[in-house]
């Protein structure tokens, strides 16, 4: 077990990473989603030749450009943090992160920078069709960039297609396709990009509604709302479907996260899904009185997790104390197994230091043995801490974030359906309540989007890599004060940049479609 842990170092490093990731994620979903709508609008322009559609395309392209410019390179700070604050982690993951991130970097550079330049500088300089192709390729490039990041993230949630090499102390890729096409990665990618589409559709509707309220740019606003409502409704249905797929994957590979998402302490057959609930205090929850209030839909959690309304869904206590009937190991048992794996690694290190080649070869073979990997190494991360509670995620944060995301997600679906209904009946301009409400839905979309990542990342705590590397072992041994200083610096920088973005964005919205595009 790790002794004399500097918890302030671990906590500040986590806080700093969370701050950076959440700030980065303010910009990404709009970029992912709005590029598709811009491409659709430009396609209509090219098909119809109607200059109003060109104006509409250029207006949204301007807002995309502002968002893209302010957000660009904010993700690189996370890579800096890997090297500085999480050096054990960044070494341990080996080429699993290196390969996808290198592909992402090359794709982002060649696809996005080339085609974005054509999008903004190419009006009247390249043919209409070539420009349209560049716009579609920008959308495709941006979303494919996200693919590689999400593949890397999915591997951390469910390490697959790799093997640990004690000689290098790194995980090495054994099957690239297993990493790329892991069901967790596919669901995560689809769920993430479609949630970006929903956010972007809400953004377009909200701003268009503001124009309608101000009785400005009416044609632009009505046409934009039509495109965004159709796009948003389709995307929100897809978000729900991929969310269901993600839940099934979580049930399989991170069942403790699922239990935390639902505040399920005691496993049960025919488990109900809590639609709305208020959790009791930690003491009460651990004593079995979990909810102060809840509305539950019977059997739905069993169905959502395993596709069978009668199936057993394990609770937090089942993972903490074990449930032999369901074949679930207790956390103390996993801790023991993790220690065996750490012990083998320690012996390897000592044999290597002593130059005992026979011993190092024999232990290296052990780490390649399927039975050892399945029974011991897969619990390697449990060997770092003796406290059972350390391995439990923050239940209230995970539960509330999940429910905020889901409730808002279904709310957005209804919102798009209503907007589409009013638009189809030609009543959108007269629906003052909805026009006033629509701009306020934009921050709701950002809250839902951030909540999704809180579920994904906090729900899997304490792991940086599921079951293999907890945060206490992943963190670099540096001065906690230095992390606090950079945290404060980032907080100030991010706030200034966010204010700059909002100011430029608001000014661009107020100006409307004049001064469009990237050039005069």
């Amino acid at each position: 077990m790790i002794q004399s842990i500097d918890w302030s170092l671990v906590d500040w490093s986590r806080a700093q990473f969370a701050l950076t990731a959440m700030y980065h994620w303010l910009f990404v979903p709009l970029t992912l989603g709005i590029t598709w709508m811009i491409a659709m609008m430009e396609t209509i322009y090219v098909k119809t030749g109607d200059p109003e559609w060109k104006k509409i395309t250029q207006f949204w392209m301007k807002l995309f450009g502002i968002n893209f410019a302010i957000g660009v390179a904010t993700g690189i700070i996370m890579e800096f943090e890997f090297g500085t604050n999480w050096s054990n982690y960044s070494w341990f993951v080996g080429d699993i992160f290196g390969a996808p991130l290198a592909i992402e970097g090359i794709m982002a550079f060649f696809m996005e920078s080339t085609f974005i330049a054509i999008m903004f500088f190419g009006w009247n300089k390249v043919s209409k069709k070539f420009h349209l192709a560049a716009t579609w390729l920008t959308a495709l490039g941006a979303n494919l960039s996200a693919l590689w990041i999400l593949v890397a993230n999915a591997w951390m949630q469910n390490p697959t297609g790799t093997t640990f090499n004690p000689e290098t102390a790194r995980n090495e890729m054994t099957n690239f396709w297993d990493v790329l096409f892991s069901p967790v990665a596919i669901n995560k990618f689809l769920h993430t990009i479609t949630s970006g589409m929903v956010l972007a559709a809400i953004f377009v509707i909200g701003i268009s509604a503001w124009f309608l309220l101000k009785k400005r740019e009416v044609r632009l606003a009505l046409r934009s709302i039509t495109v965004a409502a159709v796009f948003g409704l389709l995307a929100s249905v897809h978000v729900a479907l991929t969310g269901d797929g993600s839940a099934k994957q979580i049930a399989k590979v991170q069942p403790l996260k699922l239990a935390a998402m639902e505040g399920l302490y005691q496993g049960t057959d025919e488990a109900g899904l809590v639609a709305i609930g208020i959790l009791n205090s930690k003491e009460k929850r651990e004593a079995g009185d979990v909810f102060a209030f809840k509305i539950e839909m019977p059997k739905l959690l069993s169905w959502m997790a395993y596709g069978d309304p009668k199936s057993f869904v394990a609770g937090i206590n089942d993972y903490k104390n074990g449930n032999p009937e369901q074949g679930i190991l207790s956390t103390p048992e996993k801790i023991q197994r993790g220690k065996v794996a750490r012990d083998a690694l320690a012996q390897y290190k000592n044999a290597r230091a002593a130059g005992d080649v026979a011993r190092t070869d024999s232990i290296k073979t052990l780490f390649q043995d399927a039975a050892f990997k399945e029974s011991y190494f897969r619990y390697f991360g449990y060997g770092f801490m003796d406290d059972v509670n350390y391995y439990l995620p923050n239940v209230p944060l995970t539960f509330y974030s999940f429910h905020i995301m889901v409730i808002l997600g279904f709310g957005f679906m209804v919102f798009f359906a209503l907007i589409l209904f009013f638009t189809a009946r030609g009543e959108m301009q007269d629906r003052k309540f909805w026009l006033r409400l629509a701009p306020w839905i934009i921050p709701m979309a950002y809250i839902a989007s951030q909540s999704g990542w809180i579920v994904a990342e906090l729900g899997r705590q304490p792991w940086t890599i599921q079951d293999l590397l907890p945060t206490v072992a992943a963190v670099s041994k540096i001065d906690a004060g230095a992390v606090m200083v950079t945290f404060a610096l980032f907080a100030v920088t991010f706030t200034v940049l966010a204010i700059a973005e909002v100011s430029i964005m608001l000014k661009a919205i107020k100006n409307g479609p004049k001064n469009h595009g990237g050039t005069k």
Binding site: M1, I2, Q3, K62, G65, I66, A69, I70, V72, A73, I76, I77, F80, E81, G83, T84, S87, N88, S90, W91, F92, A117, F120, F121, G122, K125, P166, E167, T168, A169, R170, K339, R342, D343, L345, A346, Q347, Y348, K349, N350, R352, G383, A473, K477, I478, V485, T486, L489, T493, L497, A500, I504, K507, A508, N515, H516, G517, G518, T519, K520
Partner: protein, 78 residues
């Protein structure tokens, strides 16, 4: 062949130069922000505040792997 490559390169360069020269005011504003941000990121944060610890402290991959092995097995009872 060489002349054709040069012509294409010149056209591409002119495309970018024209684009930047005729950029609108909002385009200039965001480019200023991008440049300031990149300067802060790479010239300040990367160099002075957030170095790659393993690259900075160890010369070879073998030394780095030994260091991480040491960290991963620290205090483990043998």
């Amino acid at each position: 062949m060489g002349g054709r490559i040069l012509a294409v390169t010149t056209r591409i360069l002119n495309f970018y130069i024209d684009g930047f020269r005729n950029m609108s005011s909002w385009g200039r504003s965001v480019w200023i922000i991008i440049l300031i941000k990149l300067f802060i990121l790479f010239a300040v944060i990367r160099i002075f505040l957030m170095p790659d610890i393993l690259k900075k402290n160890f010369k070879t991959d073998q030394e780095r792997s030994m260091h991480v092995l040491e960290n991963l097995t620290q205090n483990q009872q043998l």
